[in-house]
């Protein structure tokens, strides 16, 4: 039995044969300019012949695919005609290029003729690609914001000002369909004979019948396809295409169940609060909200640290690692070292460009080590909590103007020490729990470092009777 649609479906595979073979023929024609390739000359007519045959085959399958009715519109027409012309050019070229043919005797004309053929193949191929991958697929990566915002495939959702006032179809459902469905179910392509780009087309359904039963969302093929698991072959949109969000599906379910009205606003149709709360996402700020995070490391890069030095430090137990593998910045933790921290910090001095996070919590760091720390002028995070530093050591920190987080918890420092932090404009977090700063000085601390979040710790939880009470079963057995 002749199965037209099956053979038609082979078109996307078969088209690659004429493209490859005819391009090869054209390429060989130009290689004839070089003496060493001329031995291949007799092959050219044969290759052209095969190319022309496959081009004809591609035309036949292409026409069958078109007759399946899933494709329509200008894009298909121009692809069809250019394909037929290509097949014609290839056949003509073969006839003329045969031994004794018109071109066979004049290599220069043959080469020019091959250019015509190559151009025709390229144009047909590109227009075919437009059909499969959406218009303008080739340049997509070149223009970051989408050159063809008006085209069905690349368009983005325009947020609405107020969901309640928005037109249910025009502003919401229609937009969802335009962004997520129309590239395959629209003017240029009608997969399954279905178009979702305007009211009458949507209600007409596809070749398997209607897709929307107004008032009965659960019976509507459209919604069923959306809700199938993505792995299911009937799931829409196909797994590799942009999917509908939970909000999109809720919107369509609500719209169909309320009668699939094409003109009214959301408010006129009527909506319950919980659905409304979901659809609020279509409102401006949420729909466009994107997350930007504070970078953890500075934007500009630094040269990588000396690997030999890093290796040497690691053998001494220093945990020293890149913070971000893409950049040269380093973090260090001296939790494992057996030598005094002060002396290791001397060895680390060449890392002053790279070291931005330094953790010395609970170590034997003294004021002498603070002098070394001040050499790491780019430090952003410094944890010197529960060490032996005093106000004298704090004086050294005044040079660390990039510091953002400083942990002094458990250190024997006083308000006098904190005065050295005054120049740290970017300090955002300061821990001073369990230090010798007196309660009387605290207000001054806060006004001194007003831009920083200061944690004074000492948290207590109230004692509640229930903390230790155990409820027993008082019911009679």
């Amino acid at each position: 039995m002749f199965n037209a649609s099956l053979i038609g479906n082979l078109h996307p595979a078969i088209v690659h044969l004429p493209i490859g073979i005819l391009v090869l023929a054209g390429l060989l024609e130009w290689l004839m300019l070089f003496r060493r390739f001329r031995s291949g000359a007799p092959l050219i007519p044969l290759i052209t012949a095969i190319g022309a045959l496959t081009a004809i085959l591609a035309c036949i399958t292409g026409l069958l695919l078109e007759s399946s009715g899933e494709y329509d519109g200008d894009a298909v027409t121009r692809h069809k005609w250019s394909g037929l012309i290509t097949a014609l050019i290839a056949s003509t070229y073969f006839v003329a290029r045969r031994k004794g043919g018109l071109l066979g005797m004049f290599p220069n004309r043959a080469r020019l003729g091959s250019l015509v053929m190559l151009a025709s193949v390229s144009i047909t191929g590109h227009w075919g690609g437009d059909l499969t991958h959406g218009s303008g697929f080739l340049w997509k990566g070149m223009y970051p914001t989408g050159k063809d915002g008006s085209e069905s495939n690349g368009s983005t959702f325009r947020p609405v000002a107020d969901v309640l006032q928005a037109k249910a179809y025009q502003d919401l459902v229609g937009q969802v369909m335009t962004t997520k469905c129309v590239s395959c179910h629209g003017p240029s392509k009608q997969k399954g004979g279905l178009r979702l780009d305007d009211q009458s087309q949507i209600l007409n359904g596809g070749k398997n019948g209607i897709v929307i039963t107004p008032g009965f969302a659960a019976n509507s093929e459209l919604l069923k396809r959306l809700l199938l698991p993505p792995e299911d072959e009937h799931h829409m949109p196909p797994k590799e295409k942009p999917q509908l969000s939970l909000q999109d599906r809720t919107l369509i379910e609500w719209w169909i169940s309320k009668g699939a009205d094409f003109n009214k606003t959301v408010k006129e149709i009527g909506i319950d609060d919980s659905t409304l709360s979901i659809l609020r996402i279509y409102q401006g700020e949420q729909a466009t909200a994107s997350h930007t995070y504070e970078p953890l490391v500075p934007e500009e890069n630094v040269p990588d640290a000396d690997p030999a030095l890093l290796e040497k430090l690691r053998t001494q137990g220093v945990v020293i690692l890149p913070i971000d593998p893409a950049k040269g910045y380093l973090m260090a933790n001296l939790i494992n070292v057996s030598r005094p921290v002060d002396s290791i910090l001397i060895d680390m001095q060449p890392l002053s460009d790279q070291l931005i996070w330094l953790k010395l919590s609970g170590s034997d760091l003294t004021d002498a080590g603070c002098k070394q720390i001040s050499g790491f002028r780019r430090l952003i995070r410094l944890q010197v909590d529960q060490t032996r530093i005093t106000d004298a050591g704090m004086a050294e920190f005044s040079k660390l103007i990039s510091l953002e987080r400083l942990n002094l918890a458990g250190d024997s420092i006083t308000f006098q020490g904190l005065l050295h932090l005054k120049a740290m404009k970017s300090l955002s977090t300061l821990n001073i729990w369990n230090t010798r700063i007196s309660n009387e000085d605290m207000p001054e601390v806060f006004s001194l470092l007003s831009s920083a979040k200061i944690d004074t710790g000492g948290y207590k939880l109230p004692f509640l009777d229930t903390d230790t009470m155990i409820m027993k079963d008082t019911r009679k057995k």
Binding site: S277, Y293, D324, N333, N336, Q383, N407, A409, W433
Partner: protein, 502 residues
Amino acid sequence: MDAMEKLSREALHRQLELTTRRHFLRECRTGIGMMGLGSLLAGCDWLGGKNQAASSMSHAIGSNPMSPRTPHFAPRARSVIYLHMAGAPSQLELFDFKPELAKLNGQECPPSLLEGKKFAFIRGVPKMLGPQTGFRQYGESGIWLSDLLPHFRQVADDVTVIKTVNTDQFNHGPAQLLMHCGTPRLGRPSMGAWVSYGLGSENSNLPGFIVLTSGGKNPDAGKSVWGSGFLPSVYQGVQCRSEGEPVLFLEDPEGMDRDLRKATIESIGEINRLTHEQIGDPETLSRIAQYEMAYKMQTAVPEVMNINDEPSHIHELYGTEPGKTSLANNILLARKLVEKGVRFVQIFDWGWDTHGTGPDGSLDIGLVNKTRQVDRAMTALILDLKQRGLLDETLVVWGGEFGRTPMQENREGKQNPYTGRDHHSEAFCMWMAGGGIKKGHSHGETDEIGYSAVKDKVSVYDIQATILNQLGFDHEKLTYDFQGRPFRLTDVHGSVIQDIIS
């Protein structure tokens, strides 16, 4: 001529008879051996990973599987404390306030909520069950919190509550496995093992992944929820105890002093290193690292696991009593471990399975007692990490393996003797704090009876992806090649919950 032919044929036959099956096998051994080796290496593809990230990871790992490593990008959290309330706490009595459900209390559950659903114990038509406790809004963020958590309200502006976690398992074991290993079946590495594999251990004397359990029972899924699966076994969680010896079988046997033990381990390590040079099995490296780690842990662990030295104000804050196995003690220990550079502390507390079949498993008795055990300690943990400047770099995660039904359980169709709820997979609550998570935030909304998510549904894989993201990992790139393909914690699912990241 004919005779000659006969003779030569006979000679050939004789010769062939001499070739026995044994010869065949001998001739083939190289080929069979190579085939065998091929399949062996496929199972432990350690250095030849096709995946860029995986191979760079193995490059960084070198000869010491526990060496500290850099994740994929700059991390917001350096360590994780994961508090798992095994048995599944009721979200409707703790974090998800549903006043509508109170109005429906005692009414029969509508069939639309039951059709096509599976429940662990509910049969027939159960009755709706309103919240068994009061709720109020706390903090500037106005997060709803239950009266059962009188302390936790003090940190309302430090946490993000996620109300719409969704799982597809409604039995404890599979759901716990899904939560921690990314699959309801056995055999995959746990989250802590993945983190340990990705980051190594910061403290060379302690493992990167430590597990503490309380509540009288291990989680239903057994030790697989902190296992290493197909990852080298050095990455599995090390279970420590807060009572008695912290780690079982760690002390030297009687009559063996520490020097002799050290010499023994060094010799064994030397032999193992030679074996590894010959065969290249990563498990050999694991073995070396584990012996060395065990030796170091002999001194390091008793020190870090000892909470007696903590000042009294800390004990008061946490409500801890040294010498006992309790959730509070474990939570205090978790803080100590993180302070010492442990990457992943996994706490399991059993006893949250409130079906209403007995007093301990009821919402009005058992759950109240369980919340009293955890409320003060988990609040203290956040406050203590905060005052030590550790909360910014420590991600605290709290949750169960699923939620509980808005209906009262009716086991076998009969009313249970106590008030309780059945297992519920469609929506439950978790909270996170610190480690770059938003402060004072509530993510997702459930419907008016708390049955399922209506906004920002979160899958278990999303939770996993988010935890890995905070540690600096792209969950799609933290992979390990096994049985011919790269595996990852989230398998083929999961996306980072961007909305809860500060």
